[in-house]
Subunit: 156 residues, 2 copies
């Protein structure tokens, strides 16, 4: 199996999910040691979950299949450049590599917010379109201190 | 119920989840029309899901509870400034407002990658620490064209 084979698999999932009414035209596979360990496709509208992008679904399924909370050593093939949510999820997964086909500009071309979100995320909080405010910082910080002092904490 | 009450609820969830070994010290609640419609807390290590941050869990539960794939009109209270994954998820959820307590610098101070990810996401692809490459762009673009021509597509 080559990178092209895995990408065609991801693209096939994007087409099948779209045709079946699962959600937008996006598919992904997680590959470890030359083998597909999980598939994902967009399921936002069918499962009523705005986080159910192809990559998020594939990451979750791969971790379940592997029995661990990281994807070290894995490559994620996705039919479209990950949106910032999915890109950050890929970082959190500690996967080795990402291969993509469509890009954020093309996603914007069919009505998706990926490019807009890439513009918003780096802005100072006050400059973003989503209103955010801070509250009770001191009370919350106590919990962070408790985490630091917790001897059996599991880091990730 | 005031904003302070809802934030104390989110902070209490962050402490309870941490103490119970669910994951990191993070909690969130989704509030609509003055009522908590969903709670979330970090469950990364206990559910083997690197995407199971407090906000993601809360968004998913709130959408399930409300029976829709958006959180228009809602405010999300989170015990820590959302990481880029969660921030983008909040945008995708179309919630009205976000209230947070700890910030990304404090999260970095107890060992979490939030601030690092805020630095990585805006970089050009080639400059990021996560290797990414493009493949089969033309084949994938055909699916986007099919989406545009799909008369019964559900936009989000």
């Amino acid at each position: 199996m080559t990178d092209e084979d895995f990408m065609r698999h991801a693209i096939a999932l994007s087409r099948r999910g779209m045709a079946g009414g699962a959600g937008g035209p996006f598919g992904a596979v997680v590959v470890l040691e030359g083998r597909v360990v999980a598939e994902g496709w967009n399921q936002v509208t069918s499962t009523l979950d705005p986080t159910a992008h192809a990559e998020i679904v594939a990451i979750r399924r791969a971790c379940t299949a592997l029995g661990r909370f990281d994807l070290r050593g894995a490559t994620v093939f996705t039919s479209c450049e990950p949106c910032p949510m999915c890109l950050a999820a890929l970082y959190w997964s500690r996967c080795d590599r990402v291969v993509y086909a469509n890009n954020r500009v093309q996603a914007a071309g069919i009505g998706f917010d990926d490019e807009f979100l890439y513009q918003e995320i780096p802005k100072p909080i006050a400059a973003r379109s989503l209103p955010m405010q801070r509250l009770l910082a001191e009370e919350a910080l106590e919990v962070f201190a408790e985490w630091t002092g917790k001897p059996d904490r599991v880091a990730y």
